[in-house]
C-alpha cells in the first residue's frame, strides 16, 4: 500500500455541519439581547472591545448549544424536529460535538475575561454551565417545568452585555434578565399548544403532555400576568423612559389579551380554527421581546442626544 487511506468512504463533515452545532438561530437572539444590554449601559465601551465581548457571548452560547446536542443526541434522533441535527443525522460524531463545545466554551470565557472583566466572564461561564448541566442534563428530562428554569440560560445574555460595559450587576440588568426569564414560558407554551410534538416519544416531560392542555393554558395566563410588572418595572429604571413605557404598555396589553384568549379556549375551539389564536399569540410573543429590547435601544439613543429617559 503506497497511499494513506483514511476513512475515505465516510461522510466528511463540512464547516456548515459544525456551525449547525452552535444553534445559529438561538445565537442571533443572544447577540441581539446581549448587544442591547451592552449599548444601554451607562458606561461607554470601546467599539472593538464591545465587538469582542458580543462575539465571546455568541460563541459561548453556541458552545452550550453544541454541548446540549452532544448530551441530547439520543433523544434528538427520536423527534422529527431534531432528527436532522448534525449528530442524529450522522454528519458529526458526538465526541466531536463535545470537543467543540468544551473548546469553544473555554475560548469564549477566557477571551471575555481578558478583553473585558472577570464578572462578565463568570456570568458567561455560569450561563454555559446552567444550560448544559442544569437544563440539558438535569431538568429537561426530569420536570415539565424544565422550560421555566431553562429559560434562565436564555435570559443571561443582556446581563452579560451589561456586565461587559459596567463590570457589575444592577437592577436594570436584573430586570432585563427577568423580562426574558418570565417571557420564555408563555412564549414556549403558546408554541407547544399548536405544534404536534413528539417529546412524549422521547421521554421528555412537557406540560401539554404531563398536565394536559387546559393546565398549559392556565400556565400561559399566569406567567403572562407575572411578566407584566417586570416589563413595566424595567421602564421605571434609568434605562427606561416614555418611549419604552409606551411600547411596554401597548405590547403587554396585546400579549395579555392573547394569553386571556388562549385561557378561555378549549380543545374543540382550537381544532375548529386550526389553532389560529395560539399561532397568533406565539407571533405576538416574538414581537413582544423584539419591541421591548428595541425600545430600550431607542431610549439609549435618545439619551445620548440629551433627550429621552425620565
Amino acid at each position: 500500500m503506497s497511499d494513506i487511506s483514511i476513512q475515505d468512504t465516510e461522510y466528511e463533515a463540512n464547516m456548515g455541519d459544525y456551525f449547525a452545532l452552535l444553534k445559529p438561530r438561538v445565537m442571533s437572539l443572544v447577540v441581539f439581547t446581549a448587544l442591547v444590554g451592552l449599548l444601554v449601559a451607562p458606561v461607554p465601551v470601546h467599539p472593538f472591545i464591545g465587538f469582542v465581548g458580543i462575539l465571546c457571548i455568541a460563541v459561548g452560547a453556541g458552545a452550550s448549544g453544541a454541548l446540549n446536542m452532544w448530551w441530547d443526541a439520543d433523544i434528538d434522533q427520536l423527534m422529527k424536529r431534531t432528527a436532522g441535527r448534525p449528530i442524529p443525522a450522522g454528519r458529526v460524531t458526538a465526541g466531536e460535538a463535545l470537543a467543540i463545545g468544551l473548546a469553544l466554551s473555554g475560548f469564549a470565557i477566557v477571551l471575555l475575561a481578558l478583553a473585558t472583566n472577570f464578572l462578565a466572564a463568570f456570568l458567561l461561564a455560569f450561563t454555559i454551565f446552567f444550560y448544559a448541566v442544569i437544563y440539558s442534563m438535569w431538568l429537561k428530562r426530569a420536570t415539565p417545568q424544565n422550560i421555566v428554569i431553562g429559560g434562565a440560560a436564555g435570559a443571561f445574555p443582556p446581563m452579560i452585555g451589561w456586565a461587559v460595559a459596567t463590570g457589575g450587576v444592577s437592577i436594570e440588568s436584573v430586570l432585563m434578565f427577568a423580562l426574558i426569564f418570565m417571557w420564555t414560558p408563555p412564549h414556549f407554551w403558546a408554541l407547544a399548544l399548536f405544534v404536534k410534538s413528539d417529546y412524549g416519544n422521547a421521554g421528555v416531560p412537557m406540560l401539554t403532555e404531563t398536565h394536559g392542555r387546559d393546565a398549559t393554558r392556565k400556565h400561559v395566563i399566569i406567567y403572562t400576568l407575572l411578566l407584566v410588572p417586570v416589563a413595566l418595572g424595567l421602564g421605571l429604571t434609568s434605562i427606561g423612559g416614555p418611549v419604552y413605557m409606551a411600547v411596554a404598555v401597548l405590547m403587554n396589553a396585546w400579549f395579555l389579551k392573547g394569553a386571556y384568549d388562549i385561557y378561555r379556549r378549549d380543545d374543540a375551539a382550537c381544532e375548529a380554527d386550526n389553532h389560529a389564536v395560539e399561532i397568533a399569540v406565539f407571533k405576538v410573543s416574538l414581537y413582544y421581546l423584539f419591541a421591548h429590547f428595541g425600545a430600550l435601544l431607542i431610549e439609549a439613543a435618545l439619551r445620548q442626544n440629551g433627550i429621552g429617559g425620565w
Binding site: I6, D8, N14, M15, L114
Partner: protein
C-alpha cells in the same frame, strides 16, 4: 508507484481546511486588535515604554520629579 502529493482527501477537506484557516486569521486579528486597543487605552506612552530593554532617557525621571 509514484507518491501522490494530492490525495483525494485533500480535495474533500478543502472547505474545512479553508474554514479553519479563516478562523485562525480571524483569531489573530482579534488578539492583535485587542492588544492595540488595550495598549492605547493606557494613555500616556511612558506607562508602557519601560520594559523594552533599551535605555530610554526620555522616561527617566528628571531631578526634582517624582
Amino acid at each position: 508507484m509514484a507518491i501522490k502529493v494530492e490525495h483525494e482527501l485533500h480535495e474533500r477537506r478543502r472547505g474545512r481546511n479553508m474554514g479553519v484557516g479563516l478562523l485562525l486569521i480571524g483569531f489573530i486579528a482579534i488578539i492583535f486588535g485587542l492588544t492595540v486597543v488595550k495598549v492605547l487605552q493606557l494613555g500616556e506612552a511612558a506607562q508602557f515604554e519601560k520594559f523594552d530593554h533599551v535605555a530610554r532617557p526620555q522616561i527617566v525621571p528628571q531631578e526634582g520629579e517624582n
